[in-house]
Symmetry: D2
Subunit: 139 residues, 4 copies
């Protein structure tokens, strides 16, 4: 499983997505043995809650959560998979220029995979947490 994906091949997969390229999603690190990926995004004006506040809108945070979970599953399967559903809990306003998402697969079953995703700000405070369910069947 560990040879299915490298940081580079995962980044290439991400860069193939128009939306993820737009929000500037970057792979920080992967840990195939732990089925874990760390991703990062940087704030751009279009992603702010209100002009010039420096606060992230919740929408891009939800998108970050969904995508980070998906790439944690992709690490094992070698390709992105459809999201079935996910939950986001917002814990604090996200106010730093960068956010980091750490996604860890809790269970990779025959038909679905469940992933937990923690989103932290640049000062390592948890700003949101996600839990997502993906279809893990071969197409």
């Amino acid at each position: 499983m560990s040879d299915k994906m490298s940081v580079e091949s995962l980044q290439a997969l991400i860069d193939g997505s128009s939306f993820l390229r737009f929000i500037g999603l970057k792979v920080v690190s992967i840990d195939p043995a732990a089925a874990m990926v760390v991703l990062r995004v940087g704030l751009r004006p279009e992603l702010e809650r209100r002009d010039g506040t420096g606060q992230w809108h919740g929408g891009p945070i939800a998108a970050l959560i969904d995508s980070a979970g998906d790439y944690a599953v992709a690490l094992g399967l070698g390709n992105v998979v459809p999201t079935i559903n996910f939950r986001v809990d917002y814990l604090r306003p996200a106010m730093t220029a960068e956010l980091t998402a750490t996604a860890r697969v809790r269970r990779a079953g025959r038909t679905v995979a469940i992933v937990d995703i923690d989103v932290s700000d640049a000062e390592d405070r948890l700003v949101a947490i996600g839990r997502a369910c993906y279809s893990s069947q071969p197409g």
Copy 2:
């Protein structure tokens, strides 16, 4: 309550948000008596799953759900409120140029409000459904 918000004042509230202005969120109609709002977004290249496919990325759909629910609550309260958490279930690939979100408050309590949000494509097929919980306390 019905005089708290008009289509115009709700749209002005939305346009104050950098991210929602970017995704081009438009108010279609409001029904204050039913605590319901209908919103619309149009696909732009940055919101696609992959270049030129015409398929929406799930991230903007999740953002649409969160925002539509928020504005359904705002209809009653007169201002936007923090999202506590929400769930998205994706039902079908979203392939049409426009998507419509219909948000209806299920319960507006003293401390939290619960909203259901249905997202349909231009052919009126359900593509995703959301359920969201907002803090409804006066700041």
Copy 3:
């Protein structure tokens, strides 16, 4: 599809479950065309939040939601299916001797089915709502 399940055959399926027999789950009506079932439970002392208060504990309400959704899916498939995940939102204390759950399939896909479940008290006030995802694949 409509001949797969009758009220009686659905009730027999329910009565095969030790836990559901214990909480006394009863089929009120089914509507196969709408993929909808209505179920009812009556309060017994073991299901109370606290002795003699007449208030339902949230646990049995969550179980009612999960089961009602499952039987709405069973209506179409002819058998019960594994729950993948579900969400419960509690809206009000449940204080009446009987509770009614109305479950409606929102999407029956090839691999998963999504169901909405509303729980009302004897005075027809919504006390909780659920959204659940089931594996809909043939075993």
Copy 4:
């Protein structure tokens, strides 16, 4: 905070609930500094999926998750609080005579608290995970 609740006072709080006494919920340990509680339940015939199978019905597992999360919050506040909503993901059939729930508060805010709950079987396999949101305001 650590002197608000002992294993004994938490158990007494649990035993005040008719339903939790029925399902036999027991406090295994508490860690007030980590806002964490460990609880256990034992299978009784009424909680089985089907007679004599030894498999837990999902309903009692959902109830265990909701309650474990609540008592993790109670550890800090000194009393039980209303559940706003929660999500359960079932990962595997639960087949052992005892199940253990470990609940850890992820964020205790001014108005809501978010808790993660892991449920493991007697062989320490994860059978279900929950994420729950509670109202943390003083009554």
